[in-house]
């Protein structure tokens, strides 16, 4: 059972819209059934730990919160050679520093997947530690999944309605529902970010 496709969600679920990618993969597993050739993975903010997963596939599809400087909630899709360039371009997501290095490293080692697809969503709020997805970003999960399914089908991958049991997703206690429900109120837990690092008007 060697996966040929890796569907990867990256980001930190603890930082509001930063969790977009991970939540997409979670929702994908709840809504669609894939065969054994597709691996659905919560990559978190990990860097080199992800290399072995890249090595075993021909196609990599990444969900991520990416700061493209667009209106919050806008989806943007880039493919192949554009992916690393985009990740290194102005306006980046918080952890891309890590992930673009992973891609560069995979290229250096000669096992970067041939086909790269990045489905990115412009975040609204990143500076809310312990927060969840903002409405405008959460609303893009379904459209992002629809695009992913279309892209995968176009590559000849079988995608059916249903569910995929994956061992590679987040622990149930931090899946979106449990995470949101168990959160203390803002009064109890200050969740303000450091405004110095909100690039104001950049």
């Amino acid at each position: 059972m060697t996966a040929k496709v890796l569907v990867l969600g990256i980001g930190n679920v603890l930082w509001a819209d930063e969790g977009f990618g991970v939540r997409c993969v979670e929702t994908l597993a709840e809504s669609y059934a894939f065969g054994p050739e597709v691996r659905l993975l919560d990559g978190g903010t990990q860097g080199l730990y992800l290399l072995p997963f890249l090595e075993e596939v021909d196609t990599l599809l990444v969900f991520d919160a990416v700061d493209y400087g667009l209106t919050p909630g806008t989806l943007k899709i880039v493919e192949d050679d554009e992916v690393p360039a985009f990740m290194g371009a102005k306006k980046m997501s918080l952890h891309q520093t890590g992930f673009q290095d992973v891609i560069a490293t995979a290229q250096l080692m000669g096992y970067c997947p041939e086909k790269l697809i990045l489905i990115g969503c412009q975040p609204e709020e990143l500076e809310d530690y312990g927060g969840g997805l903002r409405d405008v970003v959460a609303a893009q999960i379904a459209p992002a999944l629809a695009i992913a399914v279309e892209k995968l089908r176009a590559l000849g991958i079988e995608v059916r309605e249903g569910r995929t049991e994956s061992n590679d997703l987040a622990d149930p206690s931090i899946l979106r529902g449990a995470y949101e429900e168990g959160r203390p109120s803002e009064d109890e837990a200050c969740r303000v970010g450091d405004d110095r690092f909100l690039p104001q008007g950049v």
């Binding site: 978190g44 903010t45 090595e55 250096l108 080692m109 931090i174 200050c190 969740r191 690092f197």
Partner: protein, 596 residues
């Protein structure tokens, strides 16, 4: 000039240089220094620039889930936080884990140590010493001779092998797409290696990339998955079924054999590649013995890798516990994380408030309440600081102290404490290294000492892995397949109120989680992470922390190219992501350097 109570002279009159890495994989770190007219650092200001309120978001959650949250704090040491968390809960509730769980947790924790150390050295820190661009000028034949001299047992050493790597590297660098080596100061005279040593080390950078993929399989085997392995309060979540074939998640002989093979490969790499490289590279920098800072004065370790389950007494830990203060290596104090007078955090120079100045709080009573304000001498604005005022509040990091002392934590601290305690394995390794390099003991108190201690520790951890692997297999053969104790899983078995502490040695140093549980829920949770110790701002008395101390008196070749600052800060393996080797929002160099 001001003298700090912990014995350093600081002078902030010279030119100010700001090094501000802009990444937030796990947090930000910024550093400001003043250099004198000779380019020597005379004042250093280290600041964590990101609010991190994990403690408060855990309030009201189920204690049995805390590990899954703490695993997300950091992009690097996920498993260590998870382990610390389950230990804290077990301590609070008096849960005893079985012997196999102890061995398996140790195997996972050691795998994380080794993985982190190797990746840190080759993929982050090496580029502070090694120049991959210069490697293109190397003669493969001379490189082969060097390799055979440095490590006769390493099989990958032919001229053809090095020529192939060189060609691959050349193609990669010429393709121009590459971020990996893009941000170096490759023509800075601070780089001292001949091209052949650069090629050898860069080749091992690639070999280490392949190996690190194997090391982490230990986590997948025992933790069920990666990069976020499963943990369990009461033990480990993997059943043992040695007769089983390919059962989902169960540990069988096939998987155990794979673990054995990984341990062996890793041990060989540590012995034949990592340590010889540190010795060879270190040899070219043997006069660059800066960066010791607090290491010769005050070190702290909680210790880790218990021989027996549930026994955290100092003499039962393979990684040593203890505290050294005032530079007196003849006395190693024991450390009690429960004692309200020992570990305390201060916030007079941090962007938090306790309501009154000068107060230190033990983590069980810790408060995480932000108060962001800049001092009168800060330059810039609240959202764009040009220059910090270190006489006021200047960091999002609290200042933890042990009995009032600023302490260094991490591999070097562990090794100094181990040496001072007469730990046989550690003493043997250190004496051997110093003899090989013909260096005095004091050379250990340096940036290179920190880097060398990490390499030695990686090898020691491989040996410990073998020890616990053998122990696990023996225990299983004797018929014990228990991996978890679920007697107290149900919250109805818990007392109404309980408090506990979990300790580990993370790759970058002493890590503690303190938990208070009330009515089955988390009432308070405080993490004091290694980089809080090392990167701490000043305290009420004016003591400086390990990062700040380590930068003092270091001469810079070119103040606008902070190779020396990064070299020393990287030697701590700071988990506040602090790296020049990644990209910035502008797609070029990560670190902005401002000389004022």
């Amino acid at each position: 000039m001001v003298s700090t109570p912990n014995g350093f002279n600081i002078d902030n009159s010279g030119q100010r240089i700001v090094v501000d890495p802009v990444t937030r994989i796990e947090g930000h770190m910024r550093c400001e220094v003043n250099v004198d007219e000779n380019g020597v650092i005379r004042n250093a200001v280290s600041t964590g620039t990101m609010w991190r309120g994990l403690e408060v978001i855990l309030k009201g959650r189920d204690p049995r889930d805390a590990w899954a949250f703490t695993e997300r704090i950091c992009g690097v040491c996920t498993g260590t936080h998870a382990l610390t968390s389950v230990r804290a809960v077990e301590d609070a509730l008096g849960i005893m884990i079985p012997d196999n769980a102890n061995s398996i947790r140790n195997l996972m924790q050691l795998a994380l140590q080794i993985h982190d150390h190797i990746v840190h050295f080759y993929h982050l820190h090496a580029l502070d010493w090694v120049n991959p661009v210069n490697a293109l000028k190397a003669d493969p034949k001379t490189t082969s001779e060097l390799q055979q001299a440095v490590s006769p047992s390493h099989p990958l050493s032919s001229p053809g092998y090095f020529r192939d790597v060189q060609n691959r590297l050349k193609k990669f660098i010429e393709s121009g797409q590459l971020g990996l080596f893009k941000n170096g100061y490759w023509d800075n005279p601070a780089y001292k290696l001949p091209p052949e040593a650069d090629l050898m080390a860069t080749t091992h950078y690639l070999e280490a990339l392949d190996l690190q993929k194997e090391i982490v399989k230990v986590h997948t085997i025992f933790g069920g998955k990666n990069p976020h392995p499963n943990w369990l309060v009461g033990g480990v979540p993997c059943p043992i079924n040695v007769d089983g074939v390919g059962g989902v998640g169960a540990i069988n002989m096939e998987r155990l054999n794979m673990v054995q093979s990984i341990i062996q490969q890793t041990l060989e790499f540590n012995r034949n590649v990592y340590i010889p490289d540190v010795i060879a590279i270190g040899g070219f920098y043997r006069n660059w013995l800066y960066g010791g800072g607090l290491a010769s004065k005050a070190c702290l370790a909680y210790g880790d890798i218990p021989e027996h389950p549930n026994d955290f007494s100092a003499e039962q830990l393979h990684m040593p516990r203890g505290a050294i203060i005032n530079g007196d290596l003849s006395t190693v104090y024991d450390v009690d994380p429960r004692d309200p007078e020992q570990v305390q955090e201060f916030v007079d120079h941090s962007w938090y408030t306790y309501g009154e100045p000068g107060k230190g709080l033990h983590p069980w009573d810790g408060i995480t309440e932000p108060k962001y304000e800049l001092g009168p001498n800060a330059k810039g604005t609240r959202t764009n600081i040009q220059e910090l005022d270190e006489a006021a509040k200047y960091s999002w990091i609290k200042a933890p102290r042990w009995k009032g002392h600023a302490m260094e934590v991490g591999p070097l601290a562990r090794y100094i404490i181990g040496y001072a305690k007469g730990h046989e394995d550690i003493k043997g390794q250190v004496d051997g290294l110093l003899r090989t390099m013909d260096l005095p003991f004091d050379a250990l108190f340096s940036t290179l000492g920190r880097t060398a201690a990490r390499a030695l520790e990686s090898e020691y951890c491989s040996r410990l892995q073998q020890h616990f692997f053998d122990k696990l297999v023996t225990n299983i053969k004797n018929g014990d397949s228990s991996t978890a104790n679920v007697e107290k899983w149900d919250p109805s078995t818990w007392p109404t109120e309980a408090k506990g502490v979990g300790m580990t040695e993370a790759p970058r140093g002493a890590l503690g989680h303190w938990i208070k549980i009330k009515d089955g829920r988390i009432e308070n949770y405080q993490c004091v992470v290694p980089t809080t110790w090392n990167g701490s701002p000043r305290d009420t008395a004016g003591n400086i922390g390990a990062f700040e101390a380590s930068l003092l008196d270091t001469p810079m070749e070119r103040p606008e190219e902070p190779v020396e600052i990064l070299r020393t800060l990287h030697s701590f393996d700071p988990c506040l992501a602090c790296s020049t080797h990644v990209m910035s929002p502008d797609g070029d160099e990560l670190t902005t350097v401002k000389v004022r």
